[in-house]
Structures are given as C-alpha cells and as structure tokens.
Symmetry: C2
C-alpha cells in the first residue's frame, strides 16, 4: 500500500511516516497544507491519503475541502480523515456522497499504529471506517443544523446578534430596521426552531443555545 500523509504538524507527519514505514506501508509523500497535498497526490499517485481536517491557511476545514477535490480528481483514491475533535459539516457531506474508500477517525481513538493500519486496510479494500462517536454526533449535529437551515438569511442575521447578547433595540440599530421588524423576525425564529410557549423555558436563551451549538 502506498500512502500520502497531510498534516500541518511536521512532528506528527514525520512520526506517522516513520511508524507506517515500519509496518510495511510505503509513505510516498508528505504535505503540510491542502495545496501541497493536491500536488503530491498528483505527482505520486498513492493508494490512499491520510488527511488532517484542519490545515492552513484557516485551520478550519481545509483538509476536508481538499478531500472533496481529491475524490473528484482521483475517484479510486482512498481517504482517511483524522481530526482532533468532531467536525461535522463537511464530513457529513463527504460520507453521504462518497461512502466507499473513506474513513474518518478521531486522533484520540487511534491508540496505536495497529488501529491505524487496520483502518487503512479497510479503506483500501473499498470499505468505510467511522468512529461510533462520530456517527452519533453527526446525527445530533444534523438535527440542529436542519433546524437552523429553516431560517431565512435575515433571520440568521438576527439570531446571530441575539447570540451576542444584544437587545431587540440594539439589533434594530445594528441592522438599520425598525424594532417591530426585529420582533417579527424573532417570532419567526422561535416558531421555526420549534420553541413554543411553555412555562419552563426561557425561549430566547434556548434559541441562542441552538445557534451556539450549530
């Protein structure tokens, strides 16, 4: 098996390369960022790419984005995404669209090189490898994301400002609209997020929590 490793941490990259080499897996290239990853894969044509989700320049989802491009350019390439924490947005799309030759593991769960090699073998054989916590978290995140997707762009603007702790009048000032408009947006936000009038909940706070978790 011929493998490429992409991680902005040279430390981890080199360490990983060293360990995999010891297991007989050939590391044919390394990349520190998404652009370099695409180039290295083009040049070395590996069987599989091990990609850290967070890479420069934004350290957000560059790795996941690069994975999408890799799949487009190299449909037979296996991809193993590694992440330190659960990253739902891009991964959900990736798994849905390309379930084969794909893996997503939390680094914390790769307790030794055996786990990693087993995952690589599964992916290389056409399978899918997902950490169970990843699966259940994706489902939960999906729910919140779907609720937030019901909101119009304007409603999302308003909710974002609510989540900063702004009052209705401050939101009206900020968006240069009338306070009655803010109230209307908020009413629609609460309805779309299924936050109905109950004596137990502070619905505004609930809406804010939903936003913060989305």
């Amino acid at each position: 098996m011929r493998v490429v490793i992409a991680d902005d941490s040279g430390l981890l990259r080199s360490g990983l390369a060293s360990l995999l080499t010891e297991t007989g897996i050939e590391v044919v290239g390394q990349a520190a960022d998404a652009t370099e990853l695409l180039a290295v894969v083009d040049a070395s044509r590996p069987d599989l790419a091990i990609v850290d989700i967070r890479m420069p320049p934004t350290f957000t989802h560059e790795g996941a984005r690069a994975a999408v491009e890799l799949r487009a350019a190299h449909p037979e390439l296996g991809i193993l995404l590694l992440s330190q924490s659960l990253e739902s947005r891009y991964v959900a799309d990736l798994v849905r669209e390309h379930p084969h030759r794909f893996g997503y593991l939390l680094k914390d769960r790769v307790v030794d090189v055996t786990v990693l090699v087993d995952a690589l073998r599964t992916i290389s054989a056409g399978g899918t490898v997902l950490d169970p916590d990843v699966v259940s978290h994706l489902l939960g995140r999906r729910e919140i994301a779907e609720q937030l997707l019901r909101l119009s762009a304007r409603e999302r603007d308003v909710l974002a400002l609510m989540a900063e702790g702004l009052s209705n009048s401050a939101i009206a000032d900020r968006l240069v609209i009338d306070i009655k408009t803010v109230e209307t947006h908020i009413a629609r936000i609460l309805t779309k997020l299924d936050l109905h009038q109950t004596p137990d909940e502070h619905r505004r706070v609930r809406a804010v929590l939903t936003w913060l978790r989305g």
Copy 2:
C-alpha cells in the same frame, strides 16, 4: 538529555520517541496514563517529562494534575505540557507556582521537531516556554473566571440552570425554592457580573454567555 513521554496515544508517543531519538535525545520511558507516568519517572529519573494534558481516565486534566505531583516529588524535573487546545485552569496555577523548568505548548504550534527540541533545551536549562496565544488566552480566561468567582455557590447553581435555558419558574421548581428567591439570585448575579441596565444588551443572555465561556 533524558526524557520521558506521556500521552495516551501510542501512535503519537512512539512517533515522538522515534523523532527525539534521531536528534540525540534519549527517551528513557513512555507512559499511557498519569499513574504510569509517575511510576516511570520514579524508575527512570529523567531530566524532563513531556506530558499531554489530557489523559485517562477522564481525559480532562490528568496530565496537568500529574505534573503537579511530579514537581512535588522531583523538584529538578523539567516539565513540558502539550495540549491540543487551550486549557487554562491547572496550567495557570502550575505556571504561577513553578515558573522554572516548565513549558506549555499547543501541539499545533510544534511544527517540527526543531521547535520541540528547542523548547526542551530551554526548559532543561531552567527556563519557561509558553506559547504567546496561551498567555493571552490565560489572561482573558482569568477575567471571566474571576467574575464567576464572585458568585456564591447558590448563585452559580441558578446561573447554570439559566444557561440550560430554564425559565425562572422552572429554576424555582428545580431548586425547590420560591420564584422571588430566584429573582433575587438573578439580580445579584447580574450585579456581580457587572451587567447593568443598558438599552443595548439582553442581560440574561449575556450572563448565560459568560457562564458558557467560563
């Protein structure tokens, strides 16, 4: 230089050991959890311990706690804490009480083995190594923590429930107290968190945000 490595990830531990060995640093032991770390340090008497903050069983601050114990038992031992994210509570105490032979770096910032070795050298020579972002984050977190420290235990109970999105009447039910008592606690919370009456802020949401960030 003789070094011990403690990280629950065997992958990272082995990779790190391999890399450090190549630079001439002797890795005299490895540990997968805090208990094992203490035993390995007792047995091998290293110059320095590289410790991941999050280790079993709780994966919260076992590493930082073990560092405190290590310093007590081995005052000359250098300690380098590594973390994937900013962890403020125990580190702030550790730095304040033991500024020498101490380091705290974010794994993301250790871009290659050179950075790591430089840090180890500094610590071994008696110095302190702190990532700049760590410093400024510690200061910011300190501020919020100090505000929350002004609250009485009961006030913190109430604020935690506010942060779950409970209404005042639900909080009263939950804590088996009168709603007037809840109102009194909330008034005191808002005062202690310096959240005064302004037309721009939704103060309850602000209080909740402070809690969530603390």
